[in-house]
């Protein structure tokens, strides 16, 4: 009896081996149908064995059934895998018969652009927000008081002629700088004050290097124990954030009526790396802003106690920063609003 089982097992083993060989030859689903018929069909060894199971003695019937079914399941699994594989291949083949042109252009979306000047303003704002500043605003049409007088330009002050002013009447004018915001803010807030104020300013000047309107950012910090070293740190931080970590920054003494000491700040020229070129007029340096310690006279106008506090202020032209940062060589481009310019940023 054992013998019979062994013979059966051997036969089935051979059958499976042949099946494995046969299945490698399957190329299509009709091949597969033939294969299935051959091994599981009515005339197959498996079907025949199961059909004639009664020919086996009663006591080995279950064992015969189990042995045959095991092989049958194995073959079935293999056939199923094979069928999946074939289906996939055939599906793939069908897909490949289609045509698709990847190179056709995509469906257009319109790309807009924020104005470059606001991009630069926002970048500078982010830096100062990070340093603990707030953004302050003020009117563009100002009184003489806020634009000049409270900023230490009394009437007849020679510095007034530096800034050719547009007047509305003898007392009202278009602000020539964003500095009036300093006074307006200090009038309403006690120290500590940490603000920057971006905005449009106006000067009666119109040539290749001047437009009658341009954009400035003003900064003001007033607190206990603020000194010139702090001003240097703040502006070095700003200059390196905007222009790059490797840039040198230098402070030159200068004069502004509302700061003392006053400085002009240069960054090293990135085009010639300090050797001198056309962009930096041979100096190796590019002027970017004006700054200084707040002149104590200003505190009188806003009722601050000048022995208690100190402060610094700075201001820069956004167009100039943008020109240096992006290599723009013509100031007038900013206000011509040529769409080909606007779309670049």
């Amino acid at each position: 009896m054992k013998e019979k089982i062994n013979i059966l097992k051997k036969e089935l083993g051979i059958t499976f081996e042949v099946f494995t060989r046969d299945q490698n030859a399957v190329k299509s689903s009709s091949d597969l149908d033939l294969l299935e018929n051959k091994y599981l069909g009515k005339k197959s060894l498996i079907a025949q064995t199961l059909k004639n199971i009664n020919d086996f003695p009663q006591e080995i019937k279950p064992l015969v059934g189990k042995t045959v079914n095991e092989i049958r399941r194995k073959i079935e699994d293999e056939l199923k895998n094979l069928r999946n594989e074939l289906n996939l291949l055939e599906f793939d083949k069908k897909l490949r018969e289609e045509k698709f042109d990847l190179t056709l252009p995509g469906r257009a979306l319109l790309a807009g652009s924020k104005n470059i000047l606001y991009k630069v303003i926002e970048e500078i704002q982010e830096i100062f927000i990070g340093l603990g500043y707030e953004i302050a605003e003020g009117p563009e049409v100002e009184t003489d008081y806020y634009n000049f007088e409270a900023l230490n330009h009394p009437p007849d002050h020679p510095a007034r002629s530096l800034q050719d002013t547009f007047f509305i009447d003898d007392r009202i004018l278009l602000r020539t700088h964003t500095s009036p915001v300093q006074i307006r803010y200090m009038e309403k807030h006690k120290p500590p004050v940490y603000i920057i104020a971006p905005g449009k300013v106006y000067r009666k000047d119109y040539d290749v290097t001047h437009t009658p309107m341009f954009t400035q950012i003003e900064g003001l910090a007033v607190d206990k124990n603020i000194n010139f070293g702090n001003l240097k740190w703040t502006l070095e931080t700003l200059a390196r954030s905007v222009f790059g970590k490797d840039r040198q920054v230098r402070f030159r003494p200068h004069y502004f009526p509302f700061t003392e000491p006053s400085a002009e700040v240069d960054v090293s020229c990135n085009i010639c790396v300090g050797k001198g070129c056309r962009v930096c007029s041979g100096t190796g340096w590019l002027e970017i802003l004006g700054a200084g310690m707040v002149d104590p006279n200003l505190y009188k106008f806003v009722n601050y106690d000048q022995d208690e506090i100190n402060g610094f202020a700075f201001g820069m032209g956004i167009e100039r920063i943008a020109m240096l940062k992006y290599g723009i060589d013509d100031l007038r481009l900013f206000f011509e609003n040529d769409i080909r310019f606007l779309k670049q940023f």
Partner: protein
């Protein structure tokens, strides 16, 4: 201002220890900015002093001569076209390689005769605009020497920006003082031969009517002046400093002004009609024929110098033609005065004349300089022509105390600069600046000299002096720690940035325009006829007629941007601007205008280009309205957004509306009037919208609130009706809402049809309606009842029929 290195050398002991570049750097880093440093000698390379030995006529050319010229080490053959020379004349000879203008001199044959160089004229040497013949040098020159070196052109020119607080620096003397402060060098004061001999005579008849307008008037009469040519070195120095040589006397006044900073004016003493000089305000309608040949009408603020009859000069600005130095002048009246700066500034602005003199007076110069300048003039004149003069100077002045002591606390230096600077160092810096001082335990007591009287007044002024001479680069950087402040944007600022970003994201380009426009444009767009836009602000002194008034809306600017871009062949535009507009406000007692921030959007041209997968489409009104609705949705403004007809004159009469939100006007929207567009040569439709950004932001919720996501399913139905074409979508929607109750949560028009399948004068509208109840699942029957009611009422009200 320009000065030269060699000139500076006369006033700074040991300047040669520093190169011109060193000096430029040190001046710049101590607050006297050198804009440009130029070596003049470069232009005169290979030009030498030479002496003509002999000459003969050129055999082949009548107008040319062949000269034998001594060039120091050899005799050269030079062909020359001039005829103003004779043997033994000293000339400037350009040798092979020299550059004359753009032309490089080469040895060559001229009409068959060999020439080894060129004898130059003043014009060719760049020393004057015009000249006749070649330059003949007068004086003791050695052939072969460098021309530039011998005539004062082997020099460096500093172009200096002097800040308005430092009138004392508007001179070689002043810059020399700065050089000494920035280095360790010592100032070399010129010694005057007449230093101690001069009697100051106050008895001459100088009458100053108003001592505040003219704090000092000094003068000297030089009798029987021997006139001669201005020496070449002086001419050249003036030339390098951008001053044209005129004649000896005028050149001397200019030279002294550049050197010591005091403007001088010379009159022909014999042309003054009286012996009395009066300094007074001009009377109304008085006039003077000025040196430049034009008659100037003066007004009462102008200070004039007058004899007893009439004005002879506009003080500090320009002399009179009638008393001008001329060829016949024998006796010179030299004026050295101090005038009140603001008055000079006013007059020079009014007349439109700015001169080296007025520029110095405007900034208030030291009254002590008047005498120095006269002495220097006399000294130089004597040096040139050897003449001696009477030792009398006339002088009249307001006695003012120009001495001041300022105490500078060491603690203040530390407080402002953040570092301690040794007392001795502080004292030395002051000393180098010409400020005498005394070290006290807590402070330094500083004696401000007269030449710094105007700008060194307070302790802080001295702190600045210390800082700039100590060197900004030597003050260490200190991190600023913020204990007391936290940076943040306000809700408004954040929202505004987000609006900008949103518009960029939906494909709009941001423009920025000038705040001014021309009145002509304003009227062209009929803004003067719109109640809300007509009250503009005028500029008193506009740049030109395109910049006369401030914008009351942004319309003209954006249309101009469109027009400009079309002229550059770009027709498709989607642009926006966020800017302030200005409206007159008489209620405001400080008379400042109302400033409102507006968002303006302009759409024109194609929104879709023709493409392989979509057809071309032009922007239309609903693109603009879509942006409006998007903004309201994006910024979660919940409420009734409506367009109400309002005929703006610059819009198409039917496509013109106010934008209302919650029954408040928040902007305007429309299609720009086709006729206006046509006149502007814009051959396409233009849509424009303007929103009051402040109101928009005010209405947008700063704090969003969560609402529960609906739990019960909704039921959607479609409703298609045929209705009279005159009935608006809004009217239909209102009616639908009215009949639906709160369960209608969404209503959307998804089709609009007019055409063949519909009776003429009618249209078909198809809506999708979504119903939902918050507390239960709606039944189909409920929705059916509602929809029946809607149809009944639409029929009753508008005669609408359900479309089959």
């Amino acid at each position: 201002m320009k000065i030269t290195y060699s000139w500076l050398k006369e006033f700074v002991d040991g300047l040669e220890k520093y190169t011109p570049q060193d000096i430029a750097y040190k001046l710049t880093m101590s607050g006297t900015e050198i804009k440009k440093l130029e070596y003049i000698g470069d232009k005169y390379k290979n030009i030498i002093i030479a002496q003509i030995e002999s000459f003969v006529k050129h055999p082949n050319a009548d107008k040319l001569s062949i000269c034998k010229v001594n060039a120091g080490t050899e005799i050269l053959n030079i062909v020359c076209g001039a005829n103003n020379f004779k043997a033994k004349d000293i000339v400037a000879l350009a040798l092979d390689g020299a550059k004359i203008g753009d032309y490089t001199i080469k040895k060559s044959k001229i009409r068959g005769e060999f020439s080894e160089g060129m004898m130059c004229s003043e014009k060719e040497l760049g020393l004057s605009q015009q000249s006749e013949g070649i330059l003949i040098l007068d004086g003791d020159y050695k052939p072969g020497e460098s021309f530039a070196n011998q005539v004062g052109l082997d020099d460096w020119v500093f172009e200096i920006e002097v800040t308005p607080n430092r009138p004392d620096c508007l001179s070689v003397m002043g810059i020399a003082r700065e050089v000494c402060a920035a280095t360790e060098l010592k100032l070399k004061y010129p010694q005057y031969r007449f230093e101690n001999e001069i009697n100051i005579d106050t008895s001459f008849n100088i009458e100053i009517k108003d001592l505040t307008l003219c704090p000092r008037y000094s003068a000297k009469i030089f009798k029987n002046v021997i006139r001669c040519e201005t020496p070449l070195w002086m001419k050249n120095r003036l030339f390098l400093c951008d001053i044209r040589s005129i004649d000896l006397i005028v050149d001397l006044t200019n030279y002294v002004m550049l050197e010591v900073g005091q403007p001088l004016h010379a009159f022909d003493a014999d042309l003054l009609t009286s012996n009395k000089i009066i300094i007074r305000p001009a009377s109304a309608k008085e006039s003077i024929l000025a040196i430049d040949g034009t008659t100037r009408i003066l007004d009462e603020g102008t200070i004039v110098i007058a004899d007893e009859n009439s004005p002879v000069a506009i003080a500090g600005i320009m002399g009179g033609k009638n008393t001008e130095i001329n060829e016949k002048t024998k006796n010179v009246f030299l004026e050295s005065a101090n005038f009140y700066g603001p008055a000079i500034m006013k007059t020079s602005k009014k007349i439109g004349l700015r001169s080296e003199a007025s520029n110095r007076f405007e900034k208030k110069i030291d009254p002590l300089l008047t005498i120095t300048a006269i002495k220097r003039f006399e000294e130089l004149l004597n040096k040139i022509n050897g003449q001696e003069f009477e030792k009398v100077i006339y002088d009249s002045y307001l006695v003012v105390n120009r001495e001041r002591t300022v105490n500078l606390r060491y603690s203040k230096i530390k407080q402002i600069l953040g570092i301690e600077i040794e007392n001795k160092t502080v004292s030395q810096i002051l000393e180098r600046l010409g400020i005498k001082n005394k070290i006290e335990p807590d402070y330094i007591s500083a004696q401000v000299p007269s030449f710094r009287f105007e700008d060194l007044e307070r302790e802080i002024d001295l702190v600045e002096e210390i800082a700039r001479i100590y060197g900004f680069e030597n003050i260490p950087t200190q991190k600023l720690d913020f204990k007391s402040s936290q940076g943040r944007y306000t809700f408004n600022q954040k929202t505004l940035m987000k609006i900008r970003q949103t518009l960029e994201d939906i494909g709009l380009n941001e423009v920025i325009n000038y705040s001014f426009i021309g009145l002509k444009e304003f009227k062209f767009f009929k803004l003067d006829e719109e109640k809300s836009l007509k009250d503009y602000i005028s500029i008193l002194n506009p740049l030109n007629e395109d910049f006369e008034i401030l914008r009351t809306c942004l319309l003209q600017s954006l249309v101009k941007n469109l027009k400009d871009n079309i002229s550059r062949k770009i027709q498709d535009l989607r642009i926006f601007e966020i800017s302030k507009v200005f409206l007159k406000d008489d209620s405001n007692n400080n008379n400042l205008p109302v400033e409102k921030t507006k968002l303006a959007i302009l759409l024109s041209g194609k929104i879709n280009l023709k493409s392989w997968n979509c057809s071309e489409r032009m922007h239309d009104f609903y693109d603009m309205k879509g942006i409006l609705e998007y903004l309201f949705e994006k910024f979660r403004l919940k409420g009734k957004l409506e367009l109400s007809n309002n005929e703006y004159k610059f819009f198409h009469p039917l496509i013109s509306a106010d934008i209302n939100f919650e029954n408040e006007k928040i902007g305007m929207i429309g299609k720009i009037h086709p006729q206006l567009v046509d006149i502007l040569d814009i051959r396409q439709d233009v849509y424009y919208m303007e929103i009051d950004i402040d109101s928009f932001i005010k209405k947008s919720p700063s704090q969003k609130k969560f609402t529960r996501i609906p739990q019960f399913p909704s039921i959607s139905i479609d409703l298609a009706i045929v209705i009279d074409d005159k009935v608006t979508n809004r009217e239909v929607e209102d009616e639908i809402y009215k009949n639906s109750g709160i369960t209608l949560v969404n209503l959307r028009l998804f089709d609009l049809y007019k055409g063949k399948q519909i009776e003429e004068g009618k249209k078909s509208l198809a809506y999708s309606l979504e119903f939902r109840a918050g507390d239960r699942t709606l039944k189909d029957l409920e929705v059916e009842i509602i929809s029946k009611r809607i149809i009944e009422n639409l029929n009753k009200k508008f005669g609408a029929m359900l479309r089959q």
